[in-house]
């Protein structure tokens, strides 16, 4: 059976993005719309957004390489 056509990722709520901070450092986050991630530069973590739901758990975040 062919795969169902992929729905476009729903965008996270702008009001929600406005008030979210990194749970570890409480610093502001950068929204990467292409990768659907919220980047915490202070904690060097990228929190995933799945189906428009930000997953704000350090365990689930992608570690960013040191520059």
């Amino acid at each position: 059976m062919p795969d169902a056509p992929k729905r476009p990722e729903p965008a996270p709520d702008p009001k929600l993005l406005e008030i979210l901070v990194c749970p570890l450092t409480k610093t502001t986050l950068d929204y990467d719309a292409a990768r659907q991630e919220l980047i915490s530069r202070a904690a060097r973590l990228a929190y995933p957004i799945r189906d428009g739901i930000p997953i704000m758990l350090p365990d689930e975040a992608r570690k960013l390489d040191a520059d």
Binding site: P10, L16, I19, L20, V21, C22, P23, I53, M56, L57
Partner: protein
């Protein structure tokens, strides 16, 4: 925080909630009850709350009840389990009560229904909630209190100790007096804690345990025995349960104590207790009684305190 001070296995709680999300509908009567109660209390508050967070939202029932009120604007659903968060209305966010992802002074109202009793660091969580609230923001929560499942706790403890070793099977829940003091220590103004006791009856111990699991509330204590309860122990516990608490119709009762917490984020111009000694009227006048000086206690041997001259 050190591991010794941690009571609850939060990753396990998350996995349990993920796994039981589909069944939760059949076991959510306590959550529905608290949602109705909290919405009722909010309705009586003459205050507008443009942005609200339902913290530990499960399937979002509390948030839905709250968002139907005329004085509530947008509701954000925060839940530890991603599977449950997907059942919530939008916008939802997966977050841990112990490590909140909300900016300081960003929310007007935080409500929470039966979730905070699984937090290891309740003072820490309360402080984070208070900080996330705008000045004059309100926190209103229900959590399970100390008398919850006291019958089950007793029956299991006796059954297991007869076999030569009891392990914690039922979580220690917050005491109402502690909860009120914690609110104050966390910096909330006008803190109030009150409690309600619900007794639910079940056909059997198995039915009760199924219900607790279905709520996603099964034992997540770090110190729990990894081995499941043996059928023999369970049968013995059920016999003890029936003997001590059994109802005349053959069912067994289970107590759920719900502790309601409320507190305001401090703001200038907010109602405050008066400074001691600033009273304009005498209490004795209001009570139509004679005022006597402090220290004149009945039967107190006063003369011994007098200085000898």
């Amino acid at each position: 925080m050190t591991d010794q001070a941690r009571l609850f296995d939060r990753p396990l709680l998350r996995r349990r909630r993920d796994r039981f999300a589909a069944k939760f509908r059949h076991h959510d009567f306590l959550f529905a009850h608290c949602a109705e109660e909290i919405a009722g209390r909010l309705q009586a508050v003459l205050h507008e709350f443009p942005l609200c967070l339902d913290l530990g939202a499960h399937r979002g029932d509390l948030g839905r009840a709250v968002s139907a009120l005329p004085n509530i604007g947008q509701v954000i659903y925060g839940e530890l389990s991603e599977v449950l968060a997907r059942h919530c209305p939008s916008p939802a966010v997966v977050c841990d009560e112990e490590c909140l992802p909300f900016a300081d002074a960003s929310l007007d109202l935080v409500v929470s229904g039966l979730s905070l009793h699984h937090v290891n660091d309740l003072p820490g969580a309360l402080i984070q909630i208070r900080r996330a609230l705008k000045p004059d923001g309100l926190f209103l929560a229900a959590m399970l209190g100390g008398a919850t499942l006291s019958e089950l706790r007793e029956a299991l403890l006796i059954a297991e100790s007869e076999e030569g070793g009891a392990s914690p099977r039922v979580a220690p829940f917050a005491d109402i007096r502690e909860a009120g003091a914690l609110l104050q220590r966390s910096g909330f103004a006008l803190p109030v804690a009150d409690t309600e006791s619900l007794t639910v009856s079940y056909r059997s111990l198995r039915d009760l345990l199924n219900e607790i699991r279905g709520m996603g509330a099964a034992n997540v204590l770090l110190e729990r025995k990894r081995a499941p309860l043996l059928r023999r122990t369970l049968n013995r516990a059920e016999a003890i349960y029936r003997e001590r608490f059994g109802l005349s119709d053959g069912r067994i009762p289970a107590t759920f104590e719900i502790v309601y917490l409320s507190g305001w984020s401090p703001a200038p111009g907010q109602q405050k207790p008066l400074r001691p000694g600033s009273a304009q009227h005498r209490l004795a006048d209001a009570l139509h009684t004679e005022e006597s000086a402090a220290g004149d206690k009945a039967g107190f041997p006063r003369r011994k305190l007098d200085k000898e001259e």
